[in-house]
C-alpha cells in the first residue's frame, strides 16, 4: 500500500488524511523533514498559505519539500496550490515553484464570496476564500475550469486544485493523485 504524507503544519490536514484513507492509501501527518523519506507522495492542504509558509521556512522544511517535489508527486489544495505555484500575487509572496502557474490569492474576494459549484459535469467544488489561477504555463494541463478560470491543473507528477475535494465525499480528485504515486 502506498503512503501519502499530509503536511500538518496548519489547516485542514485531518480532512485530507481521511480522504486519502477512504481512497485506499495509508496517510501520515508530516511535520518534520525526516518524515519525507518515508512517503510516496505529499499533500499540501488548505489553510492559510502565509502561516504555512512561515512554518515551512522556520523549520527548514521549504527546501526539503521542494527537493521532494523534484522526485515525487505533490498535490496542493487552495493554500497548497499557492505554495506550489511559480508566482503568487495579491500580495506577492515566495513559493516553491514546482508547477508553472500564476496564482492570485483571495481571487473571488472574502468569505461572503465563498461558494460551492458544480464543475466538470457533476464534480462538487467547494471554494473557500479561494485563489484564482491567472496563468497556466505551456507544460501544465487544465483538468477543470469554473467561470472560465482553471481550477484543477496538473503538470507531470504534480497537481493543484483551488477548491477542496477533501470537504466533500467525492474521492475522484484524490484517486487521480494516488494514480501518480
Amino acid at each position: 500500500m502506498k503512503t501519502v504524507g499530509v503536511l500538518a503544519l496548519q489547516g485542514d490536514f485531518e480532512a485530507h488524511r481521511k480522504a486519502v484513507e477512504r481512497a485506499g492509501a495509508r496517510a501520515v501527518e508530516v511535520r518534520a523533514k525526516d518524515q519525507l523519506e518515508t512517503i510516496d507522495g505529499l499533500i499540501l492542504p488548505g489553510g492559510e498559505s502565509t502561516t504555512m509558509l512561515k512554518l515551512l521556512e522556520a523549520e527548514g522544511l521549504a527546501a526539503a519539500v521542494r527537493e521532494f517535489g523534484l522526485k515525487k508527486p505533490i498535490y496542493g489544495t487552495c493554500a497548497g496550490a499557492i505554495l506550489l505555484a511559480r508566482e503568487v500575487t495579491n500580495p506577492p509572496q515566495p513559493s516553491l515553484d514546482l508547477i508553472d502557474i500564476t496564482v492570485e490569492r483571495n481571487g473571488y474576494g472574502r468569505q461572503i464570496d465563498s461558494r460551492i459549484a458544480k464543475i466538470d459535469g457533476d464534480l462538487e467544488a467547494v471554494f473557500i476564500r479561494a485563489p484564482i489561477i491567472r496563468r497556466v504555463g505551456a507544460q501544465a494541463r487544465v483538468l477543470a475550469s469554473y467561470g472560465g478560470d482553471p481550477v484543477w491543473v496538473e503538470q507531470g507528477r504534480h497537481m493543484v486544485t483551488t477548491f477542496h475535494p477533501e470537504l466533500t465525499g467525492d474521492l475522484r480528485v484524490h484517486r487521480r493523485f494516488l494514480e501518480k504515486l
Binding site: A8, G11, F13, G46, T51, L55, A58, P91, Q111
Partner: protein, 294 residues
C-alpha cells in the same frame, strides 16, 4: 441545516483555521505583526479584553474605520466581535465584509435573554461556550465554530482548561448512553435532541472546537490543544506581553508542534515577560466575563 451549502461554507472556513492561532489586534501595525508571525486570522477590536476589564464602561463593536483598515492591511481572514444578541451590529459587520463574527461575551451584552439568529446570516459566526449545553444551543442558532470562553483578559488558563475539559467529558459521556437516555440528556443540557444524538454518534461537535480565554504562553496553547482544542484564540496574551513579535511566533509554533515537547521548549525560550495574570478565583462574580451568554 447542517448539510446546507451555506452552513458547509461557514464550517469550511473554520476547517481552514485548524491548527492555527487567531490573534486579537487593535490597529494595522499589530495586524501586520500578527500576519508576519504566522497568525491564521486576526480579530479586529478596539481594546483587548485586559483593557476592557481595566477601563470598564460599555464595550461595543469596534469602530468601522479600524476594522476596515485592518482588512485592507492583511491578506489573512479578519474577524470582528459583535455584542451578544446585537444582531444589528452583526448586520453592519456582515455588510462590511468581515470573514467571521464573534458573538462575544467580551463585549457588553445587548440582550440578556437571546443570542443572534445566526442562521439568517451569510457570514459565519463563532460563539463562546463553557459546557456542552451552551455549545449546542449556539450551534442550533447557527454558530459554525465554538470556542471555550475561558476568562478573557485574565492571562490565566484555568477557566479555558475547565471549559474544554467539561465539553470533552460531556461529549464522551453521551457516546455511552442509550437512545432513551439521550432524550433526558437533551432536556438536561437544554439542547436540541437532534444535536445531542449527533454528538453521541460522533463523539465530537458538528463544528470545529477551538479554545480562547486566558492563553498567554506557548505552553498554554499546547495544553488546550492536548485537551482537544483544534486551534487557539489569543486575546491580550500577545500585545500585552513584553515582546509581541517573538511571543506571536512562539504561540504559532506551539499550536503546530503541541505534541512535541522539544519544539515547545524551543518556542518557550528567549521570550520576555508574559502578560501579568489575574487570579480568577479572586475576581468578584460581577467582573467575570464568562457568565455572559445564556
Amino acid at each position: 441545516m447542517y448539510l446546507s451549502e451555506d452552513f458547509r461554507l461557514k464550517v469550511g472556513l473554520a476547517e481552514m483555521l485548524k491548527g492555527g492561532v487567531i490573534m486579537d489586534v487593535t490597529n494595522v501595525e499589530q495586524a501586520k505583526i500578527a500576519e508576519q508571525a504566522g497568525a491564521a486570522a486576526v480579530m479586529a477590536l478596539e481594546r483587548v479584553p485586559a483593557d476592557i476589564r481595566k477601563e470598564g464602561g460599555v464595550a461595543r463593536m469596534a469602530s468601522i474605520r479600524v476594522i476596515r483598515e485592518i482588512m485592507n492591511a492583511v491578506s489573512i481572514p479578519v474577524m470582528a466581535k459583535a455584542r451578544i444578541g446585537h444582531f444589528m451590529e452583526a448586520r453592519v459587520l456582515e455588510a462590511l465584509g468581515v470573514d467571521y463574527i464573534d458573538e462575544s461575551e467580551v463585549l457588553t451584552p445587548a440582550d440578556e435573554e437571546h443570542h443572534i439568529d445566526k442562521k439568517s446570516f451569510k457570514v459565519p459566526f463563532v460563539c463562546g461556550a463553557r459546557n456542552l449545553g451552551e455549545a449546542l444551543r449556539r450551534i442550533a442558532e447557527g454558530a459554525a465554530m465554538i470556542r471555550t470562553k475561558g476568562e478573557a483578559g485574565s492571562g490565566n488558563i484555568v477557566e479555558a482548561v475547565r471549559h474544554i475539559r467539561t465539553i470533552v467529558k460531556e461529549m464522551k459521556r453521551l457516546t455511552v448512553l442509550g437512545k432513551e437516555e439521550l432524550v433526558h440528556e437533551a432536556k438536561n443540557l437544554g439542547a436540541p435532541l437532534e444535536l445531542v444524538e449527533w454528538v453521541a454518534a460522533n463523539g465530537k461537535l458538528p463544528v470545529p472546537n477551538f479554545s480562547a480565554g486566558g492563553i498567554a504562553t506557548p505552553a498554554d496553547a499546547a495544553l488546550v490543544m492536548q485537551l482537544g482544542a483544534e486551534a487557539v484564540f489569543v486575546g491580550s496574551g500577545i500585545f500585552k506581553s513584553e515582546d509581541p513579535e517573538a511571543r506571536a511566533r512562539a504561540v504559532v509554533k506551539a499550536a503546530t508542534y503541541y505534541k512535541d515537547p522539544a519544539k515547545l521548549l524551543e518556542a518557550s525560550e528567549e521570550l520576555g515577560e508574559a502578560m501579568r495574570g489575574l487570579d480568577v478565583a479572586k475576581l468578584p462574580e460581577g467582573e467575570l466575563l464568562q457568565t455572559r451568554g445564556w
